[in-house]
Amino acid sequence: MSDDMKISKSDNVQIFAKNGVLQVVFCADVENTSYDIFEKDFLNTLNDNIKTIKIEAKNLKNWDSSLLLMVFKAIEYAKKNNIKYDISSLPDNLQNLSDLAFAVDRKPTKNTKTRLPFLDNVGFKTILLCRTISGVLTYIRNVLSSLGRLISLKSVMRKVDFLAALEECGPKAIAIVALISFLVGLILAFVGAVQLQTFGAQIYVASLVTIGMCRIMGAIMVGIIIAGRTGSAYAATIGTMQVNEELDALQTMGISKFDFLVLPRFLALIISMPILTMLADIMGMIGGAFVGVVLLNLPAQEYWKFAFNAFTLKNFLVGIFHGFCFGIIISLCGCYSGLNCGRNADSVGISTTKSVVSAIVWMIVATGIITVICQELGI
């Protein structure tokens, strides 16, 4: 054999270069061959004199896609560099497959993301922010007009949907809300008792728990539970409907998704949240009493007397009002995330997360605002 000949490392794939012809020969079994090694050998063997690439098979028995890949890449190289190639001695099915691989019926076109310069980027982000804000405002306006339609009896909201939503966030949430608020009352009492004990004022645990639960803690605990339990479910359900093109179907049927999807959920939450808040208040007080009476050995009668003295209608109503506001926030955040969900499975997860996070953030903001207003009004 001549001196400019080269044999590849693997015996079943051989590469020769001779008289301007580069020859690739596959023999016996060509399976699980690593493409990297072939590519290196192939490129090393190539030189400027090569005018033809010949791909042949000798006693070829078993082969898999890795062989096809080598054929494909060799032809691709030949085409790109205007070198002649010859695959006529390959088995028919291999020839057919390589023809198939080169039969392009449509060219991919895709908008490529380009990095914007700093100022452009700032502008772009600002426009995006404005769009989001106007999107949220439009959303709220749509919900309000949907409410208006409900009042003027023109809404297409189905009663069953409303009742199902109400059941989901009402009766079915009672157990978890009761348990958590009982435990929170318990914890509040414990933490308070440790401090108050140093002054010998354990009995004031009763006042602490009552005021704490009724004024704010009850509502916040219910808010967090419902945001995680119900708000996220809203986002996931509506988001999945987006993925399944159900929202598109609603739109083409001319049915308002606000009447049909948002309104029943919205109403269900603003009704159930205040009631759940009341439940949480009561359960929290019972949790506190449990600590006070059973663990701190305070007389039960005394405990409840202090608890009732601390209880004021004002605090109680402020707590309920919190619950009402949280209901609005959770349902709006959940439905908004769902309606603005993307069109694949991933985006449902993202919108669910968003609904919970945004609901909790806005609940805290709302608490701050309500507290300041109450302060100003002297409530």
């Binding site: 699980n32 896609s65 890795s66 494909f72 099915n93 080169f102 449509r106 060219k107």
Partner: protein
Amino acid sequence: MSKQAMIEAKNLTIGYGDFDLLKNTNYVVNESDIFIIMGSSGCGKSSMLRVLTGLLPPKEGKVIIDGVDMQNAPTKQIQKIREKSGILYQSGALFSSMTLAENIALPLEQYSDYSPATIKELASLKLALVGLKGFDNFYPSEISGGMKKRAGLARALALDPKILYFDEPSAGLDPISSRNLDDLIIEINQSLGTTIVVVTHELASIFAIGNNSIFLNGATKSITARGDPKELLKNPPNQEVYEFLTRGEKNATK
């Protein structure tokens, strides 16, 4: 040349809960066949495919694929068979958070010893084979339904399967795309010798690609006809099959 049996269904009874869809069915799919499962809507074609692919355990009987009893063999052997079967679901079932190339690379990364570079090249090759050359970095949401199906096929082809299953490959495709997909199926069958099982009620497809078939009847819960669809059309064994294959002609010749 007598072909070897690739899939054997023995006394297969399938159903959900107490409800039987098909009772005591027996059939054989030979190597390199394109085998059509047909029948009216709801007669259990998709369920049959789920049994063959192992997604649904049969109520009775067994499926033997390439000599391996899919119900009783050791898990390792069953896994080997699964690696050698590719499935194209009705909607493509591509993972939406991955690009097409990543979708195809996934089974390769799991089950082969190829280097990452080779896997990448193999993925583009498979895409090129189904006519999606250069679409490597596209996400499923960025391509059309027909293209998704092709990409799904590319993924099914990733591990050089011996058996390919299709559930209604032409559903939702325009006549030309569906014809092209048929051609692709034939091409793959002939070039790679892959055994192909297709659930479909697209008549054009049935005659174009099938060389063996079974006809399921939901009412009698059994196979009421079998054989080459073209032969079945010539000599329909019963009125129902005749009507099915002629799109509802009423007067059977025999």
